[in-house]
Point group: D2
Chain length 133, copies 4
């Protein structure tokens, strides 16, 4: 059985647009909140000198969402490489369970001190594996 | 020779984050501004009943950007389908010409009145072709 | 004893800026969330034709806040007029109880159908009175 | 005759909300852009150790604004104190010259190195005086 890391977000009125639904740029706010909470959980002792860099993110928009809704952001790991890994965020309406959007984010391990990419260490790899789809 | 649709944006201080650079969510603000201006230009008589829906967007982060910078968003068309088309946004530092990020956005033609996807008409297709890479 | 309407918000990384703290524009996101939830509670049957308009808002910045913090937004009523009322939001660090910021928002009752300000009805006035400081 | 410091901003679609107009939180994005550009102009040699802190900001909402509009933000100085000064931002529709909103921002001079407020120096005072209403 697969673990997922789930959080809930509330759709703010300012996150909608004049069409009446959640604006396409707001989804990334929810994904970032999910990602930072997921990273804090799997890598609590992260040092400031080594960290994660977002290399790319793709969002597929599936259903509309609206102000006042509570959405679940469900995070899993899709792929673990040598120096990077790919996570998936599913944005889901908490009441209907409909999928609103789905994102894939490629994350790279980076040593800020020496300004270069670094391999995932074993501890991180094992934590990520628990969330593999 | 290829046309591109170019705009300039100013990086606001509130668009940066505590790492000191432009936050990953802010790039989508710039892409949306470029896209709406591009659509207004190629399709000035767009009726409210038929419109464009963003189906997906992917951003590759290449270089960091900073508060106070002026960035160019250069928009082109990558692909024209029957009911959808794909555009590319390049985010470029206006002074150094370095590419900061690159995005691909799949856009679908939609009839809001009848709530269904519709084919691109010839006029729109011809406008898009001028911006094909 | 005074009632207050309290919610909690999580400070997103994208709500900080390059100085390292929560950007001055982000406080208004938290106040809007608190205000819409407060209005939904005190006026659940609000019709779309009559609504509340924000006439002005003032924020005093007292302490800095940081990414990952949980903040309480505590809402009260300061003043009830004929056609408007003033609410106060206190933004408070949930762990230390330090006040981060304090805002006053003047809200006007508005009839969108007839495009004019309207008096507060008795039911609304009584609901607001319960939250008077 | 009074100088004012004027910039133009373009209203992004994502800055509107489901009511159809510019969301109340977006005005502060425009004011921040105007303020940082104003500060850069009057105080180009600002050292990182001494800087300006926003103590409070108040916005009066006067007219609605809409996606795609170009707005002028006109900045002046209302008051110069010993360690702080107050600036006024007027948000004006560029086509009709209607005032959309008006803000007052109290700014404090701060020495980050020694973590205390500091008096305005003469050079800054003289620059500010040129923009007094």
């Amino acid at each position: 059985m697969t673990n997922s890391h789930d959080i809930e977000v509330y759709v703010r009125f300012c996150e909608t647009d004049a069409i009446g639904h959640v604006n396409n740029t707001s989804h990334f706010l929810y994904f970032e909140e999910a990602r930072t909470k997921f990273f804090r959980m799997i890598h609590p002792n992260r040092q400031s000198s080594s960290s994660f860099i977002l290399a790319s993110i793709k969002c597929d928009y599936i259903e509309q969402a609206y102000a006042g809704q509570v959405l679940k952001v469900s995070t899993n790991v899709l792929y673990i490489g040598t120096k990077s890994f790919t996570i998936r965020h599913r944005l889901i309406a908490s009441d209907s369970n409909k999928i609103i959007a789905e994102a894939e984010a490629v994350t790279v391990c980076f040593d800020f001190k020496n300004q270069k990419t670094i391999p995932l260490n074993r501890e991180l790899r094992e934590s990520l594996e628990e969330y593999m789809v």
